[in-house]
């Protein structure tokens, strides 16, 4: 890694996800953004799925102090040092050394205390080109899976010059993934700025994807 932005350090890791603490409170990587953990010779790629700001000490809860941030900085400067930001990231791909990106879960999770950095655009393009991350995130079982899929697709599109064609391709993947759940498919596509033929939602959308209401298979 050359000029990486360190956004966290892993404190828990499992086969499917890891939890990291941001170096500075309230400065997490964005929800749905692509991050990587360099674990020895292996790089594990993941998508930020949950961000939490809370007390550093699990046995202490923050209490309302009735002060503005400016007042807090002036009168209670220690408070900010006692808070931290943690985030969960779902593993979606990995790469061993300089080899190709494998768009599936790594054989072992990254280590606790590995650093987490933001992915570079080229890495995002490499790990999202086959769109398998859409299914990995969609099957995560998270309550916010739909939001997460949409946010990750937007982040992947932003890493490309041909943003629009990627969105259309990803939109079809979403429509296919959620062919049994029309509402969810519509909801995700709306979050991508798209509209499905027959979606009577009020919001106008700049692009539309031709998706049939029933499964095509």
């Amino acid at each position: 890694m050359n000029t990486v932005t360190r956004v966290g350090e892993i404190v828990e890791a499992s086969t499917t996800r890891f939890r990291a603490v941001a170096p500075e409170a309230f400065v997490p990587p964005a929800f749905g953004s692509f991050v990587k953990a360099v674990s020895g010779a292996r790089t594990v790629f993941a998508v930020v799925a949950h961000v939490e700001h809370a007390s550093l000490d699990p046995s202490r809860r923050a209490i309302p102090l009735g002060r503005t941030w400016e007042e807090l900085r002036r009168e209670q400067p220690q408070v900010i040092d006692l808070l931290q930001t943690e985030f969960d990231a779902l593993c979606v791909a990995f790469r061993d050394g300089d080899g190709p990106v494998a768009p599936y879960l790594p054989p072992v999770p990254p280590r606790v205390h590995d650093f987490v950095a933001v992915c570079e655009s080229a890495e995002i393009r490499a790990l999202t080109s086959d769109l398998s991350f859409v299914r990995t995130l969609g099957s995560s079982g998270l309550g916010v899976a739909g939001e997460l899929v949409a946010a990750a697709i937007r982040a992947a599109a932003d890493a490309r010059d041909d943003r629009r064609s990627f969105l259309l391709r990803a939109g079809r993947e979403v429509a296919d993934l959620y062919r049994q759940d029309y509402e969810q498919a519509c909801s995700i596509l709306r979050r991508l700025g798209m509209r499905i033929a027959g979606d009577d939602h009020d919001h106008p959308a700049p692009a539309s994807v031709a998706v049939r209401r029933e499964s095509s298979r």
């Binding site: 000490d57 046995s59 202490r60 900085r73 002036r74 009168e75 209670q76 400067p77 220690q78 040092d81 006692l82």
Partner: protein
């Protein structure tokens, strides 16, 4: 196992007894308030009477007029606080050692910055676990560890003295528990635990004086009675006061304050001497009546003997923090201006800490060794150590059911 049903029954009885005790204390608190008014009326003569008195209790020497003083809000300042915790030595463990962990918190309200750290010290050398205490070699026990912990708290503040205006420790600066006899304390060799503890305190106050900061021992819920004892000197009918020649003890005089209540129902014994009219009243209860939030008492000097071994006597004031009456102890070299600004900073710390100095509270959080940490420490000890723990300890950890 604790029989909670039985405890609950005893708690109910305790509650009703304590309510009765409060009722009986009421007149004594009134007596203390009235003695306070007499003391105020004495003016400068009070100090002479106190200095001439020979009493069996510690009497506060009044250094300022007896009244409430408004605490002045501080400008921006820098505060350091230290507080420690420990893992006591356990003779059932395979390795004889103990751990002292000291939290140090520095908050700079000029730069709006805070630094919070903790430093553990593991003590295992023969001189640690079998130290010289009061001239005798003995196994390190709770008191030795408490002394080492207090010394470590002072050492942390010594390092912070130059860059702070206020140095806060949790608890008294009067180390009566270390050794009540100042001459014996001074005569101990320098490697004695007691001498080392005193040396750490002296080094901290000296560093503070050199740096122009103020070291303060902050006592929450103080139970001291030095000022009430001063009122006993006021209430005494003798001139001069001399407990060794008390006419009420010898039977030459009788004190006529007999209660109407029958003795059998009383929780407190009836006063048999004038001074006993204020017995069991603590200074904090008295000052809760005399001070408003944001006010301090006048300055007093402690007559605790141990302070004679210090580089300077220890003075104190009581402060109404808004949440409670706290006692602040500080060296006698603190100037009147230094006292004013120190009280302002401490009151501000209590404001910011919702009733207790915020820097001390955070130092405690940094220093505390919680149950989980304690278990982790013991696991580490076992993993790295050699040999078995005692049969009693292993049985405690693995029950046979």
């Amino acid at each position: 196992m604790l029989d909670l049903l039985s405890v609950a029954g005893q708690l109910r009885r305790m509650r009703s007894d304590l309510a009765r005790l409060d009722d009986e204390r009421g007149p004594r608190l009134e007596a203390a308030a009235s003695a306070w008014r007499q003391a105020v009326a004495l003016g400068p003569a009070l100090r002479d009477r106190v200095l001439k008195a020979r009493t069996s209790w510690l009497v506060a020497e009044p250094l300022e007029e007896l009244r409430a003083y408004d605490v002045v809000p501080p400008g921006s300042y820098r505060v350091a606080a230290s507080d420690g915790s420990q893992v006591f030595p356990d003779r059932h463990e395979m390795a004889q050692c103990f751990l002292v962990n000291v939290g140090l918190v520095q908050i700079d309200y000029r730069a709006y910055a805070a630094a919070m750290t903790s430093a553990p010290t593991l003590c295992w050398l023969p001189a640690d676990v079998y130290p010289l205490v009061g001239g005798m070699r003995q196994e390190a026990d709770g008191r030795v560890v408490a002394a080492r912990r207090f010394a470590a708290e002072c050492d942390a503040l010594t390092g912070a003295a130059a860059s702070n205006d206020l140095l806060l420790t949790d608890g008294t600066l009067l180390l009566w528990w270390l050794d009540p006899d100042p001459d014996r304390l001074r005569a101990l060799p320098p490697d004695d635990v007691k001498s080392r503890t005193l040396a750490s305190l002296n080094a901290m106050t000296a560093a503070s004086r050199d740096a122009g900061s103020v070291p303060v021992g902050y006592l929450s819920a103080p139970r001291s009675t030095d000022v009430v004892s001063m009122l006993k000197v006021v209430l005494c009918t003798e001139e001069p006061v001399d407990c060794d020649r008390c006419p009420y003890t010898s039977g030459k005089k009788a004190w006529g304050s007999r209660p109407a209540q029958t003795d059998a129902l009383r929780m407190l014994p009836a006063p048999e001497r004038p001074c006993e009219e204020v017995e069991t009243i603590a200074d904090a209860a008295l000052f809760a009546r005399l001070l408003h939030p944001g006010q301090r008492s006048g300055r007093f000097r402690s007559s605790a003997q141990v302070a004679q071994a210090y580089e300077a006597p220890i003075d104190f004031v009581y402060l109404h923090t808004g949440a409670e009456i706290a006692r602040l102890e500080f060296p006698a070299w603190v100037t009147p201006d230094g006292l004013d600004s120190m009280c302002g900073m401490v009151a501000d710390q209590c404001d910011k800490g919702l009733g207790y100095p915020v820097a001390l509270a955070e130092a405690h959080e940094q220093g505390v060794v919680r149950g989980n940490d304690r278990r982790a420490f013991q696991d580490l000890l076992r993993r790295q150590g050699a040999g078995p723990v005692s049969a009693k300890l292993s049985r405690k950890r693995l029950s046979v059911l």
